[in-house]
């Protein structure tokens, strides 16, 4: 493995995992996050003229500092320096609020009007942010490079600029599990045999959504009975779980502590880079996936900067830098020539129509979100 691959692993591991760890640092973190957000208020010296269409404005006309709410380390190594070199009057300031869910991120943004200009968030965040009136639709006439993004992702993420997605599937060690695994049903069936050697994800929508797919339901269902059935499936398998983890899931496979895991595609791909015995499976029942991207905050005073950055980010070479740095599954086939082979040739991460047809993106569920939270807490407490 080359140095770049090592770097990819180290940085990609920091995505949700560091967020989760960050959340463990202390009860004062929410307040600290809000303080951070408040301190990160965007510069008022920039241009406030919004682009009204007809393509991006000239570089010399784009001025000011746009504040981005983002996961720690979730940006290409060169994206921002290259952007600032091309647009000398503009800059991007990244702030991580520490919120670990779509709901909490939306709430931080709602409670800090004017502090952010755009934010990373998934489909659930978009629904929540639109309902809360804190984001606006992207002006795609000012972001012509949106055409580079594959159609399925553009359609699914129609309000904003999609950046990446992550499928929740199965990882297992071929040298520890003798039976072939192709579905969630296999995992539930094999659980007693591999009791204490199974790790599940510690995210309600990902984990409960996967259990719902196993039961034959949508991972976006709002039917209380179906949610209960998913919860019961999780409670049934819980005695066989080694742990429910939000981080180091694939490393449990690498170390051999776990034989089977429910995990994100990029994490399993990282594990495969360290141990060839690790296999990735897209479950037959279908996989849940987060689809996320950059969302423009309502009434931002730096729309020109935001649009210019988003358009710049969607240039295939720049986008490839983002993918190479983070190791994520990607949404732009046009960037494939610039993406490291270790990523572009990994079946867990490639843009593949057959794979995508079996993926269900996690949407905003409105009031039903509370049902998922309740079911999740009951599972964790069981």
């Amino acid at each position: 493995m080359n140095d770049l691959d090592h770097d990819t692993i180290r940085i990609a591991l920091s995505r949700r995992q560091l967020l989760r760890r960050g959340a463990q640092l202390g009860a004062g973190l929410p307040a600290a996050a809000w303080l951070l957000a408040a301190c990160g208020g965007s510069s008022s010296s920039g241009s406030s003229a919004a682009t009204t269409g007809g393509g991006p404005p000239p570089a010399s006309a784009v001025k000011g500092t746009a504040v981005l709410q983002n996961y720690s380390g979730w940006m290409g190594k060169h994206n921002i320096p290259d952007f600032e070199a091309k647009y000398p009057g503009a800059s991007i300031k990244q702030v991580s609020t520490g919120a670990i869910s779509s709901s909490a991120t939306a709430q931080v943004l709602k409670n800090n009007p004017g502090a952010f200009d755009f934010a990373l968030g998934d489909l659930a965040f978009v629904g929540q942010a639109l309902a809360a009136g804190i984001m606006q639709d992207a002006d795609f006439s000012a972001i012509p490079n949106i055409k580079n993004v594959d159609e399925k992702f553009r359609k699914a993420f129609s309000h904003s600029v999609p950046s990446d997605y992550g499928k929740v599937g199965i990882g297992y060690r071929k040298d520890m599990v003798s039976e072939p695994i192709s579905s969630w049903a296999d995992v539930w069936q094999l659980a007693p045999k591999y009791s204490g050697k199974i790790v599940f994800l510690d995210y309600d929508r990902d984990c409960l959504g996967s259990a719902l797919r196993y039961k034959g339901y949508s991972g976006n269902t709002t039917d209380p009975d179906q949610i209960n059935a998913g919860k019961q499936a999780l409670i049934d398998i819980k005695p066989h779980l080694l742990a429910i983890k939000a981080y180091d899931v694939a490393s449990s496979l690498v170390k051999g502590d776990a034989a089977i895991v429910m995990d994100w595609d990029y994490d399993v791909a990282l594990g495969q880079g360290q141990d060839s015995n690790i296999e990735w499976v897209l479950p037959e029942e279908g996989a849940m996936a987060y689809l996320e991207g950059w969302n423009v905050i309502k009434d931002t005073k730096h729309l020109d900067v935001v649009n210019a950055f988003l358009n710049f980010f969607l240039e295939p070479k720049q986008y490839a830098d983002f993918v190479n740095t983070t190791g994520t599954a990607y949404v732009m086939a046009a960037a494939t020539p610039y993406i490291d082979k270790s990523i572009s040739s990994n079946k867990a991460l490639i843009v593949d129509p057959a794979t995508l047809s079996n993926v269900e993106f996690e949407n905003f569920l409105g009031e039903a979100t509370a049902l998922y939270t309740q079911a999740w807490d009951e599972f964790k407490s069981a």
Partner: protein, 282 residues
């Protein structure tokens, strides 16, 4: 002149008072106020209508059981700390002064490393293929895998490991203050060493024990890092529920209500401990 001294003293205390008010009293009041509010989980609009719904929700068996689990685990861990901490503090207090200092440094050494790092280090220690498992297998104390990590036992071990110094130090201070002449007098009057310990040493050490139990038990009750890391996400404690409500769900009013209940419980423990130590002191 007197009033000038008072003014000076007041001015010296002002920064601390301002700090405490800004970062403790005000947030505390905000949390209490929020605990009576209601939030729409769709729009995040908060209405302050002073309702008790959030407190009623805590009666849900899910949260009540979690509260009980938190109490049981923290009481168990506090007892474990006491069981290990008292003999250690007693041993240190009986050493020559120079040795006491050296041994106290050893007690404090873990605090030189970040709490999070120490907790992650404990994961490596307790792993199925970790050094503890290897040692136990070498001593033929276990034959199969070590199944401690990601269980409530691992959480208890983690809490005891992390909080033990907080138990040892106040007990040591109480024991170290005992006048040797009192012990000698008891012995001169015919008391056996066991009786001296039971009738003289132990009662005089009780204030230290009480303080140790408070400063271990109270933070352990709200602990959520250790259950998350060492419990493998399978041992839900009240601290985890509060974190989830603030950082995952966004239901700040409900999270605030749980935090207020937890604080109230701790206040009761503190008051009871204070009364207990006063009675013991005479």
């Amino acid at each position: 002149m007197l009033s000038r001294d008072r003014l000076l003293r007041g001015a010296l205390a002002l920064p601390t008072v301002a700090y405490v008010v800004a970062f403790f009293i005000v947030p505390l009041v905000v949390i209490v106020v929020y605990s009576f509010a209601r939030v729409s989980l769709v729009t995040f609009n908060i209405s302050f209508d002073w309702n008790l719904d959030n407190y009623r929700r805590i009666h849900d068996p899910l949260y009540f059981d979690t509260l009980v689990r938190s109490v049981v685990l923290s009481v168990g861990a506090t007892f474990g700390c006491l069981l290990l901490g008292f003999p250690l503090a007693y041993f240190i207090s009986r050493q020559p002064r120079a040795w006491q200092r050296v041994l106290l440094v050893f007690v404090i050494v873990p605090f030189w490393t970040s709490f999070i790092v120490r907790t992650y280090a404990t994961v490596n220690l307790l792993e199925e293929h970790g050094p503890l498992a290897d040692l136990l297998r070498a001593l033929h104390l276990i034959s199969g895998p070590l199944t401690v990590l990601y269980t409530p036992r691992a959480v208890a071990i983690g809490i005891i490991y992390s909080y033990l110094p907080l138990m040892v130090l106040p007990i040591y201070v109480a024991l170290e203050r005992i006048d040797d002449e009192l012990l000698a007098a008891a012995a001169d009057l015919g008391a056996s060493p066991q009786r001296v310990f039971r009738r003289v040493t132990l009662p005089l050490a009780l204030p230290g024990v009480a303080v140790g139990c408070v400063i271990v038990g109270i933070p352990a009750m709200g602990e959520y890092v250790i259950p998350e890391i060492l419990g493998g996400g399978k041992t839900l404690m009240l601290g985890n529920v509060i974190t989830d409500q603030f950082l995952t769900v966004g239901d700040i009013p409900f999270g605030s209500a749980i935090a207020v209940v937890l604080m109230a419980l701790m206040a009761v423990v503190l008051i009871a401990t204070r009364r207990f130590t006063r009675v013991e002191a005479g």
